[in-house]
Symmetry: D2
Subunit: 363 residues, 4 copies
């Protein structure tokens, strides 16, 4: 299913890379919320292609058209459908994909699943282009969260070997988070931008690609969001984040490094501070038992290098039942990580907004 079935917020992302349009149909956003279209467009532009030498040359304006669910820009309680028309479509690049699957892509697996009826063009429904509708619903949720004092932002923790600084899990605040989205490169330490760009261009010039890690922080969360077991904040956020193509792993708080710590190191001591319960350290990443503690929520997610590379690769011909070499044509990102940053924010936002709605009815 291409739907996110939260407890309260539910949406279906539709479209293929080269279908007439892509979009999203959303249910569960209460009536009476004013959508800030300009802000939403700015958010979408951070993901949009064709804006940087490190990204694909495909040109798409990515301006959504809202065909339902709004009255004068305010949610009216009916389902919201927003559509982005696909304009810069080139179908000739993909003729051979059904015979010779591209390594690292969903060509082969989608053919197995859909018995050859899948849309192969440009990756079809598996294209990274489908993250644009995710950013529409996520961008709306970011606005709704912001109006309740909750701030979500992510930065590029690494691209290939080049590292950014990391969020301090205790002191990270809205001021820091607000400073990142406006940057050309979503970094804490701007001095890393040039190194990252250089690493990407070098990979590109070699016909190769790079992956990376994105770190996301959420501040202003009340304690008590989330549900036990299968609807904890980790489960909810993971379900959304693995909806982004190329994501290969996710960790919360100290994450995998926690596996090598002692309990006495990893346990975060409680403290009474400014009339609130806080922890002195934040190895738990703001979540205990699936439920928010009120400390900053921190997670990191790993993205693999873009599978579309210019180098010759080994594949098979399904018809000829033998190995062949292929070379991928078309326009591709040598590194998807910069454009994935708003997608990670969007995924986090939908999961968190859903949990927030859930909390309301529990009084």
């Amino acid at each position: 299913m291409s739907s996110f079935y939260g407890e309260n917020l539910r949406f279906t992302i539709f479209g293929q890379s080269h279908s007439p349009a892509i979009g999203v149909t959303i249910e569960g956003i209460p009536a009476g919320h004013h959508i800030q279209f300009e802000e939403l467009q700015k958010f979408l532009n951070r993901r949009a292609p064709g804006r940087s030498p490190t990204a694909t040359a495909r040109q798409e304006a990515d301006v959504p058209s809202f065909v339902s669910g709004l009255v004068n820009g305010i949610t009216c309680g009916a389902p919201i459908t927003a559509i982005i028309e696909n304009t810069d479509v080139r179908t000739q690049d993909y003729q051979s994909l059904k015979d010779s699957p591209r390594p690292g892509h969903a060509d082969f697996t989608s053919q197995m699943k859909f018995h050859g009826y899948q849309d192969p063009t440009g990756g079809g429904h598996f294209s990274g282009r489908l993250t644009a509708p995710l950013c529409i619903v996520g961008g709306i949720c970011l606005q709704l969260l912001r109006s309740e004092g909750i701030c979500v932002a992510a930065h590029i923790q690494s691209i290939g070997p080049v590292q950014d600084s990391t969020f301090d899990p205790v002191s990270v605040d809205a001021a820091l988070l607000d400073s990142i989205p406006g940057k050309a490169m979503a970094l804490i330490d701007d001095s890393r931008a040039a190194h990252m760009e250089q690493a990407i261009l070098e990979a590109k010039s070699n016909g190769d690609s790079l992956g990376g890690i994105i770190e996301c922080a959420v501040v202003g969360l009340p304690a008590g969001l989330g549900d036990p077991m299968f609807a904890g904040m980790e489960n909810r956020i993971s379900q959304a984040v693995f909806g982004i193509p190329a994501v290969r792993g996710i960790e919360f708080g100290t994450g995998f490094a926690a596996a090598q710590m002692l309990g006495s190191e990893h346990n975060d001591p409680y403290d009474w501070k400014h009339g609130q319960v806080r922890t002195r350290t934040n190895h738990h990443g703001g979540i205990l038992g699936g439920i928010t503690s009120g400390m900053p929520l921190i997670f990191r997610t790993a993205l693999k290098p873009t599978p579309s590379i210019a180098k010759v690769q080994e594949s098979v011909s399904l018809r000829q039942k033998q190995g062949i070499s292929i070379q991928i044509q078309g326009r591709h990102d040598p590194c998807i990580v910069p454009r994935a940053v708003p997608c990670v924010e969007a995924a986090a936002a939908v999961a968190i907004y859903d949990a927030l709605l859930q909390r309301r009815k529990e009084g």
Copy 2:
């Protein structure tokens, strides 16, 4: 919600650490499947407490009683409810938990969520004890998967600093996977068992605890399982695995390490072998676009050190609104990792079996 809402398999895990009983109510298992009770009990015993010096001393037989859904041990299509009575209950250990939350536990967050009405005793619904019902439903799914030639097994990749070997992602097979569950310690390289046990006992004698990493492999999967975007195999497995307390991260295939690879390294070349499409390497961990490729499915998950440690810790008194020191009494595992291995297998099995049912109706 404490329910796992697969597309087809749905279950709710109920109970608290010291409620009259714990258990699970399951829907979606087709009629006509013979449950192997002896095999199921062996599986549950791998998780059960009180069986090793490295585990909690709490004694629970953990023998489920099936009150519905079976006729002569065969599923009849009606919902299955299985119950385990809680016998070795000691409520006196937990009197102060509602005032002074234990670091690293859900005491504080559940109090915020449930406004003080949560069951604090022994962690209540957040107790690791609730993984017993997960192992009931997971153990049944493992049998059903096995009858279709699909084999799921996990091993302890590390406890604290001590490492096991890892699965070879290309050549791992049912023979290797079958060899692990019978071992006292779920390892590939048995020579590591003594080192791990020693590390645990050392932590225990220091009043401390250890975490670790569990690696899970699934072989025999057909290509074509899973759905795009939010119901990919990664999303489904994550939703289930983060239902296990203490899990802090999950990665598929090469996982976080993929972030530092080049596309030309990470892309797995296709090969035509024995009349089948295979990949020569398996960085993708058996999943592309959320859908199985037919290669072994590999994931790793990180568990934090048990938060229940004997050392004095810093907490707060919620009534007195100030910091206090606490020392946890009771019976606890100095390392939950060995007992979590079958839980990870169970979580993987429910997610995979659900995807398998989904595949059937697509013809």
Copy 3:
């Protein structure tokens, strides 16, 4: 599925007529609600068998045991599971059911669905006995609704040819509704009780059975509950009410009779009364566009005559592939309608309580 998946309240009813136990697992009831057990038991007793000459002679105490979800009788936010053990079990009555399906029962259809693996004994999972767990969850919801000023009650509008009075859809109030549940026969006009009992006993003495109509009213509902299209109050209530075996139809407000009215007759004029918007008539039965208007919600549901009758009936032998005559043994209700009254209230209550929770999060 034997689950009711409300937007917020979700429960699964498990058990078969002669399995070790029957029961219900419930999620979504917020923490902090005190269950009134004595009141719940009184409610369950209205449905319980063996209490009247017009009902089955099967003896079942129907006292639920709550194994999870409560702390000192107060909901703790974790799933609630309640169990009723089956005690008066007689399996010998049903040996031939898999060969010769009883007319009007689910014997044949469940055999087709479950390929012969269904539990045939006493109707298995299709037995009217499964309405006991529905009354547990419904009885709890009735208490929760009552604490918010919402009152649900039903009466027997007819049994065979014998009619009761009907609710006045405008003036029906809590006082009238409260007077009905305590009666031996749930009637507005008590003078009809003897006629109805006589009609049932006459049918019984003829080896036959009777059906009837139950009318249900809900007062105290706020305006604005329910959702458009597929989650309107009619959809929600119907989904629950058709979960009661023997229900063959449902109508809201003026119902089928509306089909013969003019718009100018059926439209309910608005009125401003006591500072509130009211309608002068109530043909709409308290629901417009799927959403409550604040007027009394009225619906009626038709129950077929009990299919278990003592007369010889025509069936087939599935093995011999030919017609045969059968005569049903066992203990059965000559008319299920009196015992179905609390079941209808329970079904209404779960649907309404779910809508009420939904309303909360919309602010």
Copy 4:
């Protein structure tokens, strides 16, 4: 929610009467099905407005545009979104609706639910116009059912006082069902058409409106479709049918009349005929225990008279907090029943197709 959440088929209907577009987003239709567009358009035309003197004068071509989910007219497994642009929009008719709710409409209740943020124009999301997208998804399901030998058709059983013949529940067959959709008036007995049309025009000339009853039959169903309790065929079909505005009741088989029958009359005797199990009568309407028996599935549904009438009516002014008289302007159907016939078929089709998918995975 404006979504239909089947077990397998899920769709969300979006749009308002005068929003830029209306449409539907569909998940769960397997890949590889060829959509017959011409046939689908014929089906949509049966519902479309502006085609008869008995219907509204609003002109809408109602030609859907499929923006996703198809490759060359064949389903590709990705979500399907189809859109119909709203062209003949007149917003000036509805300015006063937020102050003075129309009797029998959702104006007041939607205002209570959405706190005044609802789209009032033309009934907004509550408009009968939203049944056009229902007919898109239903029309597709009708084609898919037909390809498996399942035929669904409905006729007007009555409009006001004028009756059609009824389906013979035992002998109704595909030949009869196929003959109805092509007729100008969906009747078994064409001689009733003129009487019905006359009744409607008479009501119209009086500034009034009529309701009616629609009877639907499904033949070719295999035995064994549907699930116990809350997912029986009655629950599923009801959930869909009450999604059509103006539906006030539904009954299956003999329905409400069953309440006055004896068990010995209502029970349908089994018969072995042409190598199959059949019943001699069909009071059960093809469903026992929520599961199909293989006999024709029969249900009837009651529609209230169109609430939009030209007569002066009593309403209130919400601002002035007092009663006022209103007169509705605009273009309306004096009787919605003829155009509702394909909507009832569509609702039945989605529920049945969902159950059919469910059956597949049970093997």
